[in-house]
Amino acid sequence: MKTKIIFLLTIYFLLLAAALIPSVAVSAQQPTPSDDQVNAIARQLYCPVCENTPLDVCPTTACHQWRELIRQMLAEGKSEAEIKQYFVDYYGARVLSEPPRTGINWLVYVVPPVAFLAGVTLLFRAFQTWKRVAKEPVTGVDDSSSPGSGPGPAEGSGTAADEEYVARLEEELKKRK
């Protein structure tokens, strides 16, 4: 009887151990996050105290602690977004490498393309005026509106263009003599 109980208990504990092993193994599979994992997030953040220094290369003690904090949060299973949000909540939007897309910050994203497009429009309109002015005295020179004419490698036109090029080059070189 006694041996039977011992036997059953042994079986029980073995089973229990067997049931526990996977969970032990799981936690053993979650080692401390590597430097690379930490840096992957730190690189996207800016040191909250030094000017314009990314967190992954900042040599101050404070930054060392912040990187350890990232490591700890990663170990706790926090996502990249959660970790970044944590830093924004504590130290403000300046820790991000770009302003968050809210409120007045939209201006940083909108102004350059708008200004550039304004430049393009201005230039395009200027071109059109110039073309109109230029077309009046010189008739029929510009036939760029005719369709289907690719860069034709036709022999005749090619040599004509070459001769024109040679003449132009010679003229330019002569001018500089």
């Binding site: 430097d35 290369v57 300046r94 490498s97 940083v108 350059p112 200027a126 073309k131 510009d142 263009a161």
Partner: protein, 675 residues
Amino acid sequence: MLAQFGFGVFVLTFLLALFSVGAAVVGYFDKSDRWVEAARRAMLLTFPLITLAVLTLAYLLVTGHYELQYVYSVTSNVMPFYLKITALWGGQAGSLVLWSWLMSAFASAVTLRKWDRDRDLLPWVIVVTSVTLAFFLSLSILYENPFARWWQTTAGDFVARMFAPAGAIAVTPADGQGLNPLLRHPGMIIHPPMLYLGFVAFVIPYAFAIAALVTGRSDDRWIRLTRRWTLVAWLFLSIGLVLGMRWAYDVLGWGGYWAWDPVETASLMPWLAGTAFLHSVMIQEKRGMFKQWNMLLIILTYALVIFGTFLTRSGVFSSVHAFAQSAIGPMFFAFIGITFVTSVALLIYRWKDLRAEVEMKSLFSREALFLLNNLLFMGVLIVCFWGVIFPLISELVTGQKVTVGPPFYLRANGPLFGALLALMGIAPLSAWGRSTYKTLGRALWKPFIPTAIVPVVLAVMGVHNWIALVGFTLIAFVIFVTLFEFWRGARSRQNKQNENFLVALWRLAGRNRRRYGGYLIHLSMVVMAIGILGIEVYQTTTQKTLAVGEDIQIAGYTLRYDSLAQFPYTDGRIVTRAVISVFRGGKFLGDIYPRYDYYTPSGQPMTIAGVRSTLADDLYVVLVNWENVSEAQAPFKVYHNPLVNWLWIGSLMFIFGFLVAAWPEREQEKREGKI
């Protein structure tokens, strides 16, 4: 005593600069040559005077007069002689003195030339250069005085003043703090003077532009007269930028050469405007077009030169509030505002006189493509300007600080740089005046064929990143077009003149050095682009703490940690140096020595990466001194930077191309009366 002498010379020079402004204005309006001559001589006298002040300061630095705040802050007993000399521009006050010195040197060089038929421009060139000089001298005299000395006030505080505060006692420290270790790198020693040479030289074309506006001359004389100055300014600014990149690569230990830091970006902005100017003046010289635009560009360049100096010198980046606390910031701000508004007002006043002599005829002409080039440069400039000032605006308006970092600049500027590359390929094939898309197409298809093969070859070789594919294809396109241009020119000469191909090539480039030197510069730019693309797209990095004998793997390399040693150095550093063996496929390639230096007087650490550099890639190893380092185990951060060496090779090619384009042509010069 010497300090008072130096300061006295400064004040005298400042007064002379003011006098030369006044005399030049009087001379112009009274049409009095004597007054203009007086202005010119006053201007010329500023140079020996500032030189005297600079020599005094250099002497004080070398002999360790630590009673002066500036000497105390940038030198120390253990510093070698050459560093004590370079400490002249190692701090705020000294670098402003350097600005004034260069300004006065350049202005003197200009006023010494024969003015003959351009005499009407002289008074206003003197006015502009002297006003700029007086402004920088006033900063040195009022706010950033390199001759101020230490005093202990009755309350026991130490203050730096030129003259004794009431009841204060003079104090003389036994040793100085020494130059910031970050600035003890060869690149950093030459970088500021180069940048400043570029900055100050751009004042000269600006001065002539303003002179042309005031006197109402609408020809391109001011451009021709200052072409060499513009080129030299551009060269030095470019060299300054590259040296700054090299310094960042070697000394910061960040693994890269450019971080879109506001200070870096601020020095890039005048370069962008200057490069646009350099291209667009060619249209005015050839076709008499875009006179107003060229004026605007040089005005902008000047404003950005002062703005760049202001951004780096006023401490405005640490906080807008720091800007308000120091008086130097508002002074700069007012100066930029006044000069910019005055210049633009002048331009508007002369707007009608500066109309184009001929009209644009085709969208595909070279002048049209140059204009497109200008638009793209302005696009990059807008992105940079906005990225730099937005954090300040945000802090002013909402009180919230934000960072505008690399992702913003890369996303916005990437496509613009790509378009610039494409244009660099297309524009050389276009002709001035009438050029239709047919003629352009005919010129394009030959270099286009080898270009079309490039992405296929790259894809087969395993390049699948689309940015790399587009980038390298554009680079190949520019290279093919440029080589084609050389070939086509030499061939036509060969046929016409019966010359050997090489002779034809030599004579071709010799006859139109400006064009073919320009092409060489284009080539150098795309070689630089190879390096930039390589590191931007393919950089990889990893970090690991290694015990002796352990290794780290990156990009097919194995790096083994062999040993670590710590030893003092003669200049007061304590050096900690690791030895890393590099292997590839089991074959030993060499050792790398990453280290960090600890500077004893200031307590500042410096991380110097160990680099193994080849044409294919750089292995860049940082001994991560901010983590725990011991002999048994140490953390290393390794970067694999493909192709980055081409960035530096391209920079050297750039200088060569520049020399081809700008080397003086003696006879022609004499005829044209260039300076």
